[in-house]
Symmetry: C3
Subunit: 213 residues, 3 copies
């Protein structure tokens, strides 16, 4: 299953309707470059019937807030559980992403399967992410409780479900990203930092570095 899927997903990556990453900010592949998977889960976006807005919103947010070298791995997959599971496994295991964020497919509609696929590929659940994201979204809209967003770890990769809506994406990343660099560090991944005037990547004193590689 995996072999068959992979080729297809690679073709789907970086679709033409998403802006190309400016080279200046995406570092060349190096030991300290954090590889971050950005997965849009949408039937319509995967068929090209709908412009993917969630993936670019995540990319732009990371571009603006992350100060250390990172590189994006973009994917667009339909709301098919097997395909999404395979995509998440490939990003964690072969592309060696330390972080994978998804957008879309977390609601109660019959096709929404993102949380189930995430749980299926993760060894360990991180319930605090979903709790905090729903709590933050609840201050904006009462239907935030309908979001089934979850997070978990697969090997050294943290997988986090974000909403589909770009403004909700920013709210959720703003809430959970302060914890992500230290989480990745605890998992043995690369050192990630943020622009402190925009967002503070929290870590205990002993884990701070004065200069970055």
């Amino acid at each position: 299953m995996k072999g068959k899927m992979k080729g297809k997903m690679r073709n789907e990556s970086r679709p033409e309707n998403t802006p190309k990453a400016p080279n200046a900010s995406v570092a060349p592949n190096g030991s300290e470059t954090a590889r971050i998977g950005i997965v849009t889960v949408s039937d319509r976006a995967s068929r090209g019937e709908y412009e993917d807005r969630g993936g670019p919103a995540i990319y732009d947010w990371l571009e603006k807030h992350v100060s250390t070298p990172w590189a994006a791995e973009r994917r667009v997959v339909p709301d098919e559980r097997a395909q999404l599971e395979d995509c998440l496994r490939e990003l964690a295991d072969e592309s060696e992403c330390c972080l994978v964020v998804t957008t879309g497919g977390t609601g109660p509609a019959p096709r929404d399967i993102t949380p189930e696929a995430t749980e299926a590929v993760c060894e360990r659940a991180m319930p605090g992410f979903g709790e905090l994201m729903r709590s933050v979204s609840l201050q904006v809209v009462p239907t935030a409780i309908l979001s089934r967003q979850t997070a978990g770890t697969r090997g050294r990769c943290l997988i986090v479900n974000l909403p589909g809506n770009p403004s909700a994406i920013a709210d959720c990343l703003g809430a959970v990203f302060p914890s992500i660099p230290y989480c990745i560090e605890l998992m043995g991944g690369p050192y990630i930092d943020t622009y402190p005037t925009l967002i503070h990547a929290f870590r205990p004193k002993h884990a701070k570095r004065s200069a970055h590689a």
Copy 2:
């Protein structure tokens, strides 16, 4: 198992100690009538040793707040996991309820099995419901964290666990019901609305209707 249970549960429905629904507000079975299951989970109530207060409290709350046509399917079952699972399956699959609310059996006492039965029959979990209900109840009583209330979807049916205590039922319905009509709509169910002076059924603009069927 299911065949045997069904007859029994039908006999248990609408027990004599609960008020009969006034015909004026319960619409005849029609295409847009929302069928709502109300399940009391209680050993004593199912044996008639104890007046069911949770089921009528839910019925009265819905009667007061829901403005669109709906019909209740009432059940009273003992704290037996297999019987409750069968009851939930029957309400979702055969009675075609778009919503089933339970009352009772969510605490830590040895006989409390409502969350386990709910999870067993649901394909997908809706963790935001339990989180919000516990958070709201925590403002009333510190032991709210002992409630193991959960929610999930089975096919096109949303199943939500409510507490056993009638005043806690009102607190919890007041917190989660604003999200339920849009949730049911996303699942392909009937259009449900509420009396806006009492409670606001939230939905995005594109999903609003100016007049109801």
Copy 3:
């Protein structure tokens, strides 16, 4: 597996670097004595390379706050899922603890397996404990969402994961302990009370006792 493990764990109990309980406050084994398991989960503490600070912090907190007779069962185990599961089963089933609290192993580091071991031995989850502890810790540190703390019941035993950090232990016990005595009572366990000037053990009026055994 269990037989082999048990001997080892008994040897590990009450390590020399933890203070001995003063006899004055630990009641002799009696019908109403609450047996409370305190489990430190740490590779380094179990090898004696690191002083166990979490276990003594829990012991001291209980010593200060619990007014009814109780006795501690101390264990120190490495971050090995099978060993921790066996330790939790032994404390619940053989030592007949009504409460077991763990410290350590709830983060995202590769060796952290405390929540998985807890879920594996529990029949029922108590999600409200983790939600409240993360919510309380979030007011202190944004990385509180990285804690995967959970709780559940095994037979008549409540198992609760606490953080590793002693100051976070006090925050979490202060938040959840008010609910624990009534929880244990609902599970058929001993009557536990607290010094009301320090912390209020909440229970409904009908469950209160004017004098303790």
